[in-house]
């Protein structure tokens, strides 16, 4: 499936991906100013930039083929869409027990306590062609692709 991949050598740590992630999941999909100024409780970004010295990258849910979060979910709220491969969390059934957080090998699931406690994670921006984070990365450090940018001898995670 197409995933969002980070190219750490071009990540500039600006965190526009986080900002546009918040926009994508706000009620104002095309208006950053409204999304930030009118939403009193902004949910957290579902993509997270890690930075240390010159190294930085943004990471969000890998939408694992064999997703630990789905298998660990105590309520069945966390699911993998058999058609699209997107791992998604069904808000209504999520109780915020955070077992998925304890399970995710990437640390990609985020506590959202803005209203009811729920596990929040990348949903690849629903049906959008290219997720907001990728569209708005100023330096091509995020790609939306079938092919990962790094060849590694061992595949990571599940």
């Amino acid at each position: 499936m197409k995933r969002v991949y980070a190219k750490e050598e071009y990540c500039i740590g600006c965190r526009l991906c986080e900002i546009y992630c918040i926009l994508s999941h706000s009620e104002y999909k095309n208006d950053l100013i409204k999304a930030f100024k009118k939403s009193l409780q902004r949910p957290p970004a579902r993509i997270q930039v890690e930075e240390e010295g010159a190294l930085s990258f943004a990471l969000q849910c890998r939408h694992c083929d064999e997703a630990y979060c789905v298998k660990s979910c105590i309520t069945g709220a966390m699911q993998k869409d058999p058609e699209t491969g997107v791992v998604f969390n069904e808000k209504e059934r999520c109780v915020g027990c955070w077992t998925c957080i304890a399970a995710c090998p990437y640390g990609a699931i985020i506590k959202d306590e803005t209203s009811k406690k729920i596990a929040s994670k990348c949903d690849l921006c629903g049906q959008n062609e290219t997720p907001y984070c990728v569209q708005n990365c100023p330096n091509g450090a995020l790609i939306f692709s079938e092919e990962p940018p790094y060849k590694t001898s061992v595949k990571g995670g599940e």
């Binding site: 890998r62 979060c69 957080i101 595949k155 599940e158």
Partner: protein, 420 residues
């Protein structure tokens, strides 16, 4: 070809999904003594506290059985197993022949041999029916004694306190949550629970149960006495081995399985709380009564039952639990009892925060993350992937992240997600 699954919780559902990964056709018969559509057992405390409705407790959607070609026989106990004839006899007299059988009968509460614990208002806290009964017995101001300060006992205590009951927790160990925390972390959690009105009696147990038909009070070994309207026994679960008793299926603490989740009898598999499967952190077979483990074991069993190939190699304990908004995640070995382990700790009781990393030969084998659970799955994955964290342990003690990894491993993580 016929699959029979005894059980209807995480391991059983995992097995259905595992079978269906390989075999979309062959019918599956699933038997459960409980009359309910598959539901999430850990949600019973949420149900009791009024945080979820029964309709939202389903572990899989209502069309799950139909979609997966499962004939579900609910509310009917599997009573006997005939290994020779390959059939399971149900309480209604029906005999179910099988070619591949999964035993996922889970655990049953352990009731200590204390006289009087068979009285009417003594309850356990495992099933939906348990909390329905408790719900009918308690109201604001009810006095409740909970025996056992483990995960189940304390979730019950939290739920009961939230609905206004006066809760006293009695625990034989010197500190609470001894299966997932160490003493320092437990002290922090205990204080937090005490601030919410829960009373603890540690290092003692019930000496005497007072009352006729019903328990009216308990006398503790340390001399204290508490009156009560309800007693909940939550000192642990034991594998529910009744079905295999008297059969050639090998059991120790639980049903012993190999890395295919198969028992010593070919064609008979077991998964979940009833089994004794491999724990990679201890390097031995243990009962691991936690839901994610049950699901994965069930799935592994299911794949193998259907002729696929899956291995159970990475089991170990991991938990995530919160009490009154204080979250904690733990995994692996948190209280090493032997030599050869290295322990790093960060203890900030003033912030209700505690973190501990347990290393063996430079590799992470366990962690406690109290009130700092963010991204702690990364630690869980380091245990699973046997990552040497010698050089990054100090950093991980402050913050979980992938940036601390060497390039090769970091890139592996960045491109993760695809099937291994």
């Amino acid at each position: 070809m016929a699959y029979v699954i005894i059980g209807n919780s995480a391991a059983a559902i995992g097995a259905v999904e595992g079978i269906r990964k390989v075999d979309r056709e062959t019918p599956i018969t699933l038997v459960s003594s409980e009359p309910y559509h598959t539901y999430s057992r850990p949600l019973i405390s949420y149900y009791l506290a009024g945080k979820v409705e029964e309709s939202l407790m389903v572990y899989r959607k209502k069309d799950f059985y139909e979609k997966n070609g499962v004939k579900a026989i609910l509310g009917c106990r599997a009573e006997a197993l005939d290994v020779e004839k390959k059939s399971v006899k149900l309480a209604n007299g029906q005999k179910l022949p099988y070619e591949k059988l999964l035993i996922a009968t889970g655990g049953k509460p352990f009731i200590p041999p204390i006289a009087g614990l068979d009285k009417k208002n003594v309850k356990t806290f495992i099933k939906l029916d348990d909390v329905k009964e408790i719900d009918a017995l308690v109201s604001r101001g009810s006095k409740v004694i909970i025996l056992g300060a483990g995960l189940i006992g304390l979730k019950a205590a939290e739920a009961l306190a939230e609905i206004g009951a006066e809760v006293v927790v009695v625990e034989l160990a010197e500190y609470i949550l001894s299966s997932i925390l160490d003493e320092d972390a437990a002290k922090i959690v205990q204080k937090h629970l005490e601030n919410k009105g829960i009373k603890f009696e540690l290092g003692t147990t019930i000496e005497k149960v007072l009352g006729d038909e019903e328990v009216r009070a308990v006398e503790l070994k340390n001399g204290s006495t508490y009156t009560c309207d309800l007693t909940i026994v939550a000192i642990g679960v034991r594998p529910n081995l009744e079905l295999v008793e008297g059969t050639p299926v090998t059991t120790e603490a639980g049903i012993v399985v190999n890395d295919s989740m198969e028992t010593n009898i070919p064609g008979i598999y077991a998964a979940g709380d009833v089994t004794q499967g491999y724990d990679m952190t201890y390097g031995e077979k243990r009962v691991l009564p936690i839901l994610p483990n049950a699901y994965k074991q069930g799935e592994t069993a299911g794949i193998n039952m259907a002729g696929g190939n899956a291995k159970w190699a990475e089991g170990f304990a991991f938990n995530s639990i919160s009490f009154f908004g204080l979250p904690m995640t733990t995994a692996g070995i948190v209280n090493p009892r032997e030599e050869g382990y290295q322990e790093l700790e960060k203890c900030e009781p003033e912030n209700n925060l505690y973190k501990k990393l347990v290393l063996k030969d430079g590799k992470l084998v366990g962690h406690i993350s109290l009130n700092c659970i963010e991204r702690s799955g990364i630690l869980t994955s380091f245990i699973r992937e046997k990552v040497d964290i010698t050089n990054i342990a100090e950093k991980l003690l402050n913050e979980n992240g992938l940036i601390v990894l060497e390039e090769e491993l970091r890139h592996r993580k960045l491109v993760g997600g695809g099937a291994a």
